[in-house]
């Protein structure tokens, strides 16, 4: 998953942290699974895209329930901060994906 333009230590550290952060047992219960992709943003700068898979049923609950959505927001914020703290060149973008 590493891109050749980044120092190997940068990506190794990031990927190892991501594997831990996105492990099934560390995800909130409404998130089915999570994955990441090392890529670039629309300017060509390094970006780590993190996808959080939720079922359409859970997506519906989240959009209707303000308290649950706020919890999701907090989770996303924590995850983003943990990735940013690593100070690699990869800027995180966390997105929810509806999966049946």
């Amino acid at each position: 998953m590493s891109t050749p333009t980044q120092p190997a230590t940068d990506t190794e550290e990031l990927e190892s942290a991501l594997r831990q952060l996105l492990a099934k047992e560390r995800l909130p219960d409404y998130i089915q699974s999570a994955r990441y992709e090392l890529s670039t943003d629309h300017y060509g700068d390094p970006m780590v895209r993190i996808y959080l898979d939720v079922t359409p049923e859970n997506a519906l609950i989240l959009e209707k329930d303000k308290a649950k959505l706020s919890k999701y927001s907090e989770y996303k914020q924590r995850l983003r901060s943990q990735v940013l703290k690593l100070e690699t060149d990869y800027f995180p973008l966390i997105r929810m994906v509806e999966t049946p």
Binding site: H42, A59, L62, L69, K76, V97, E98
Partner: protein
């Protein structure tokens, strides 16, 4: 000044678009909501910068200064200010040793929204989830509300100044 309320009106429009369909949201509505939310924050940051740096500018010069802002530079600044320790561009020197978390959040959301706007406007296969879209818009709503409490902080001053003069921080003499 013309369009002084543009950011608030764009935010209102983004909220409407994100919840436009009662049941299954159309991707077109979510894409336009994201794009509109990005522009709400883009215009908000420009307006607040000009209010602080040029509060007495006449209309014509205000409009001229408005055009100085550039999406790419604003993205670089947002990425740097997303961190707790903000570093001067192309340097290890520290600009802000302990960034205000509220400025960090605004900067992070700006960087996110710019990338998402690009996806929303040009990504043919991109699919947006409504909870995510609403979450961004809710954040923007609270950011606009907390701004008066944070705008006079040294971190906010440095953030806004950077939106125009980012590369200049590294200038030695």
């Amino acid at each position: 000044m013309s369009a002084q309320k543009l950011p608030e009106h764009l935010l209102e429009q983004a909220k409407h678009l994100a919840r436009r369909e009662r049941t299954r949201p159309r991707q077109a509505s979510l894409r336009r909501a994201i794009s509109t939310a990005y522009y709400a924050l883009f215009h908000f940051l420009i307006r607040e910068t000009l209010r602080q740096l040029g509060p007495n500018l006449g209309q014509e010069n205000y409009n001229r200064a408005y055009r100085w802002f550039d999406h790419g530079t604003m993205r670089s600044v947002a990425k740097a200010f997303s961190q707790e320790v903000v570093r001067i561009p192309n340097s290890k020197e520290v600009l802000i040793p302990a960034n205000d978390s509220r400025i960090q959040f605004i900067a992070q959301h700006f960087a996110d929204l710019q990338e998402l706007r690009h996806l929303a406007d040009y990504g043919s296969s991109a699919v947006f989830a409504r909870p995510d879209t609403i979450e961004y818009i809710d954040f923007l709503d609270s950011a606009f509300r907390i701004w008066p409490a944070v705008k006079k902080s040294p971190e906010a001053n440095a953030f806004l100044l950077s939106l125009l003069l980012w590369e200049r921080w590294g200038k030695q003499r």
